[in-house]
Symmetry: C2
Subunit: 290 residues, 2 copies
């Protein structure tokens, strides 16, 4: 859906949902959306969207108009946290930090058993914590530099892979670069699985940076669990193992010794499952008010 | 009280409290303590104390025994946050981040109107977020390096002052170094107030680093207010002004444009006022349970 303008994007989304609604003969009670955007809940406005033309759009109201159904909207990181909390790795966990490693880094927080959104709904931007005060510029609409996202997202992994490949031209990663292949997460993960040391070094570096950020979140939140998802988690334990090592080296006791750092159970479906949970919660809250 | 062993320290504290209790003819209903320690609330144990011999001590139980009164204990950063929330700069504010800049950095969080403690009570260690992945070692019992505390506490300020003084020997700061004076927060602040450019540069550097950390906390929590206290805040606006500038450069909208960054109202009394609030809350919670 990239490259579309706002009205066309809204129509495309509404049409896709309407098609689903039509196949169910009126059994749909509400619609939930998880969108990659910072949200101001006071007005229901999507304030900043990094990768889609949704900036300053009242997305929920516009969708409710088109679909004639109750609509609930939240940030994609928040709905992924809801999915893991209700039906995934963090069932029954009241203090949970969710990190989604994709092109960017999504974040979600379950604190005292509830989704934490902040004062006006734009909190839990966990990818935008500075971990290197002198680090490279962040991406999209983020004006910062040295963010966790600039250092450990899929985009950062690809950038580091480029560097490692050119320094180690005889590695499989080096060969892939020479062959003109795109050094993205899936390829680097595949080469690392096959034992290429350059590819393994890249993933270890990203895993260590992930661990630096998790150590800070362990100190800040004292969570029972940190759940790591997103496409980059195709690398699985190759990423989590150096991250856990870094947490043990850096975080404070007793928080450090009382936290599980685990892979998310949901992949691409996290948004879908979490948006459904969001809609169910939203309907329940409305009925309580009646 | 530094330099004492644990039993002597406990006796000294109990005696001081008992003396106060005696002067009030039985009007004391409970005692609250704010201690510089990480706490495991499951057992009431002070797990790690950086500057006092309180590691692995069940401080609350031991004090209750000695004083024969209900005793409530929490981290010093947490009680400072309670003080500002109940009676200080953040009255009526439901989402607040407290940063206390002293020898170390204390942290406290009010989220959704309540003190946030984390899963077992050892959260809100806001000084131990890494802001420079390649930064200097942290202090006390913290095994990390490049923490906010290692970069922007009073200790870091004194370290940077040493450096700036030796590079600018003709500045007032340089003269103070040559005269063998201790280049601590109060002296650097005084020289900066008097217009010495080296001293001003030191405070600006610390203010900018403070701003880097606040920008991250703005992205993470979307707070309505960030309250900065502690001894280093003797420098006041000389510290907050560069911090605010850095937040505007680095944090994400809409959170960035909807936050006040202000000085704490309480100084040394923050711990006392907050510990009283803690004891009142604790008594109220017990009465609810009866």
């Amino acid at each position: 859906m990239r490259g579309q303008d706002t009205p066309a994007l809204l129509e495309t989304i509404a049409a896709a949902v309407q098609e689903l609604v039509n196949t169910t003969q009126g059994e749909i009670a509400a619609v939930g959306f998880g969108i990659p955007s910072l949200i101001d809940r006071r007005s229901g406005t999507s304030v900043v969207a990094v990768n889609l033309p949704l900036t300053d759009i009242r997305f929920g109201a516009l969708m409710a108009e088109r679909l004639d159904l109750p609509v609930f909207v939240d940030n994609d990181g928040n709905v992924a946290a809801l999915a893991e909390h209700r039906a995934g790795a963090a069932r029954g966990v009241d203090h949970m930090v969710l990190i989604g490693l994709g092109t960017g880094i999504a974040g979600g927080l379950i604190l005292n058993g509830e989704l934490y959104r902040g004062w006006i709904g734009s909190g839990a931007e966990l990818g935008h914590m500075v971990i290197d005060i002198n680090g490279p510029p962040c991406q999209g609409n983020c004006p910062n530099h040295g963010c966790f996202e600039a250092m450990a997202s899929g985009t950062a992994l690809a950038r580091e892979a480029q560097l490692f490949a050119s320094v180690q031209p005889e590695s499989a990663l080096g060969h892939a670069l020479r062959d003109g292949r795109e050094l993205d997460g899936p390829l680097v993960t595949e080469l690392a699985h096959d034992g290429d040391s350059a590819a393994r070094d890249v993933i270890q570096l990203i895993g260590e940076r992930l661990g630096v950020a998790i150590a800070s979140y362990v100190n800040i939140f004292n969570p029972e669990m940190v759940v790591v998802g997103g496409g980059v988690m195709g690398a699985g334990e190759m990423l989590l193992e150096p991250a856990r090592r870094e947490v043990l080296k850096r975080a404070l006791p007793p928080s450090r010794d009382n936290v599980s750092i685990v892979a998310a159970e949901f992949g691409h479906e996290a948004g879908m499952v979490g948006a459904a949970a969001l809609a169910l919660d939203g309907l329940a809250a409305r009925q309580e008010q009646l």
